[in-house]
């Protein structure tokens, strides 16, 4: 079966700092993956390499068997890779609904219906006309999350989706992520909240100083000595 995403020895450094040091990984379609590691371990850089925001120095990246390293970020997005950002990047002077509409083409009424549906999905339908910049951080996070879904991506990269989202919304959000998986999409998420990672992910990759040091189901990862060492020191 073709992998949803495959990284082959991807490398990226900034000046003398190696952020990602030859990471290889493979995501099977329709599953939820976690990417964890201490601060500065290269998680976000890896996201940026996959989505084309940063150009990898070496290695190859395949999306559904097709090479995507070297493509522009928008081309990768159009192919079906959606992402959110660690610090939300909604368009502040566009309304919540307009934030979702920008990526659509064709029938506008249908696009607006779909946009309102998605906003309702995260319980923000009342705020559709509000400027995104006026929403709370957690609400912006949700707008960004559903904005990704407007393109109907088959691979969704979430950079700390739970950070700043309150408890009640968090459960809805986790449920939403599971639903993405049930619809056949692949999800890769960076998260610091271990409860979220352990409860949601089927396979977890652990990065430390740009190296992948472990990979496996959450239960096994938690007990892995190298992982404990990376997080807590020897």
């Amino acid at each position: 079966m073709t992998a949803a995403l495959e990284l082959d020895a991807v490398k990226k450094s900034f000046g003398g700092v190696t952020a990602v040091n030859g990471v290889s990984l493979r995501l099977e379609p329709g599953r939820i993956y976690g990417l964890i590691g201490p601060n500065g371990s290269g998680k976000t850089t890896l996201f940026n390499c996959i989505t084309g925001v940063e150009r990898r120095d070496a290695g190859r990246i395949f999306f559904q068997g097709e090479r995507i390293d070297g493509l522009k970020p928008w081309q990768i997005a159009v192919k079906g890779v959606g992402r959110t950002f660690q610090v939300t990047r909604v368009f502040p002077e566009l309304s919540a609904l307009e934030n979702l509409l920008v990526v659509t083409r064709g029938d506008r009424a249908a696009a607006e219906r779909r946009g309102r549906e998605l906003l309702a999905f995260v319980k923000l339908e009342q705020l559709a006309g509000e400027y995104a910049g006026n929403l709370s951080y957690g609400q912006q996070k949700l707008v960004e999350f559903v904005r990704v879904l407007m393109r109907d991506p088959s691979l969704v990269l979430l950079d700390e989706p739970a950070a700043g989202v309150n408890r009640t919304l968090l459960n809805d959000l986790l449920e939403a992520v599971r639903r993405l998986r049930d619809e056949g999409r692949t999800v890769l998420l960076v998260e610091h909240d271990m409860k979220v990672v352990m409860g949601l992910c089927e396979v977890v990759f652990v990065l430390d100083h740009g190296d992948k040091i472990a990979e496996g189901p959450p239960g096994i990862i938690q007990a892995d000595e190298r992982v404990i060492e990376a997080y807590f020191g020897r």
């Binding site: 970020p73 992402r83 950002f85 368009f91 006309g129």
Partner: protein, 308 residues
Amino acid sequence: MSPARLFQGGLVVVAAALAVYPFFGTGYGVRALLQLFMWIALAGSWNLISGLTGYVSFGHVAFFGAGAYTAAILITNAGWSWPLACAAAGVAACGLALLIGYPCLRLKGPYFAIAMLGLNEVLRALVSYFEGLTGGGSGLSLPTLQASVPIYYVMGLCAAAVTALTYVIITSRFGLRLMTIREDEVAAEAMGIDTARHKLYAFLLSAVGPGIVGGLAARDQGYIEPISVFPLATTITMIVMVLFGGKGTVWGPVLGAVILFVSQEVVWARFPYVHQLLFGAIIVAVVLLMPRGVLGILQIKYRLPRTV
């Protein structure tokens, strides 16, 4: 009657009054309005690229000057009729925008602004250098022609067309995508928006108006020289008009052009010495007190629709 209907009604009345004005008005009035139309078209055009995408063009008068010289040369040397020459001026400005936009729109923030400033200086130097075609520093005189009234109408159409174009763009998803570039270009790319292409389209559209208007101004004035059609002050006036009225809005550039132009004509003409001083003071006041401009503030406060 709803405010929207009232506004549309008012618009029709104003348009009708302006259409019949040359039959009753004074020669001075016609010329003043003609210039007001020019400023509306220029400010509206600058708004298309800079107000929407946030790419501040500090050399937009380059398209005006390029249009002026294109039309003047076609009229003087090739004997073209002025309407045709002015249409060609629009095309030429668009071609220049394509040439310069492709490399320059990769530059971000201040670098783009400075590159555009440079473009204007380069064009002015080029025009001065190629004396055979342009008359160099001594300028270019067009054959005498009394056409203020037809030019008044065409200039008015240009102002209306730029405003209508702005309306169509801002209320469309293409316009929203242009705004995403202003709001967060990285996020726009991540959403699958081809920002390079969108910026280029906006840039091309923003160059056509100044090109045509430049040609019309050249025909109207009958004489052009490098310093009269490539002045930095014109770019700055466009910017101030848009900032004052409200950048990224449909009617902001119109409002800014009307208020600033009228105050310039009516008030400032009586105080010639403080004219520049007042202009500078307005720039400072706008930036400090209402960086969003009049309509921008109303937009935020009363949640006006994008059609405003």
